[in-house]
Symmetry: C2
């Protein structure tokens, strides 16, 4: 739980007493490779803070094709956010690509923390602001950049993920074919 | 300013004294058709709450092609959020399509309100959560739906915008050609 404290204190300081109370809302969970934390059709009980491991959030379209919404690694938050915030059944999957550990927080717990502590309301607002900016960037990225530009942007932002995630998933996330991606990888070696 | 109070109180109640202080952070601005509230390259001074009128937020890609990030109407917030939150120069434009009025709020004012009032921190968090969900939906929409599905989703969500926004902008927002959009309009009459 030290990691959680450090993570929150990057944004707002906490007393020992406050942190002891706050951490009681989080459940530690070990996750195996290929395990699903969220499965389409199920209730979305938690948002997850990644402590270790690599994860992907994806959904299947009407034709059964997989689309990756986000990857997640240490210190990132993830879930099927539409299902989580609207308390509807999941339309997405959260799958573990590399084993690790996550902290689980329910929506009820999240709202209680935000309402009891102005500092935690602030923490969640800052995290949402960062998430909002990332989604805006992903949209402009999807609307206009070429495969080459998407590849370069992704390698610049996430050099570690480039090495840890199978190429087929990177291709899917970038919305380019595996052949195009392989060509880009070899051109940039 | 009554509209502002009503807008905030949909999420959190305010005393008269609180509201008198809060409203002092907002500047009322009348906007003419075709006027720019944000222009690429300029400082992004404000986030805007729309009181009246229709607006579009867009950017130009490397080849000069226009891409619409969002439309905005009464009660919606808008700006070049990447520029605003990161306090960098604008990479987008905010243009008025139908004259109206907006309330302008600076990032400094926003942060001050959030830090002084737990209720306002909560208000901004709720607004960001809704914005975050809308962006997630726009991403899944861009990744997987057909022109027909995009058209239907847009008409269902924003029947009023369908009537008020020139077809060429709707086509651009949906990422479909004007010919395809015209066909969809006539099929759905």
């Amino acid at each position: 739980m030290d990691r959680l404290r450090q993570h929150i204190e990057e944004i707002t300081p906490l007393s020992n007493e406050e942190f002891d109370y706050i951490k009681s809302f989080f459940i530690l969970k070990k996750v195996r490779k290929n395990q699903f934390l969220v499965h389409e059709g199920d209730e979305v009980k938690f948002e997850f803070l990644v402590l270790e491991g690599i994860y992907k959030v994806f959904y299947l379209d009407a034709s059964g094709k997989e689309h990756i919404v986000q990857f997640a690694k240490k210190d990132w938050w993830m879930t099927d956010y539409i299902g989580f915030f609207k308390q509807k059944n999941a339309t997405m999957f959260v799958e573990c690509l590399q084993e690790g550990e996550v902290l689980c927080l329910s929506l009820e717990g999240r709202e209680k923390l935000a309402s009891e502590f102005h500092t935690m309301e602030h923490f969640f607002r800052v995290k949402l602001t960062n998430g909002f900016i990332a989604l805006q960037q992903r949209i402009t990225f999807l609307l206009s950049s070429t495969p080459q530009e998407r590849y370069e942007e992704f390698s610049k932002l996430y050099p570690d993920l480039m090495l840890q995630i199978p190429k087929k998933y990177v291709a899917e996330y970038l919305g380019v074919s595996r052949e195009t991606l392989s060509r880009l990888y070899s051109n940039n070696k």
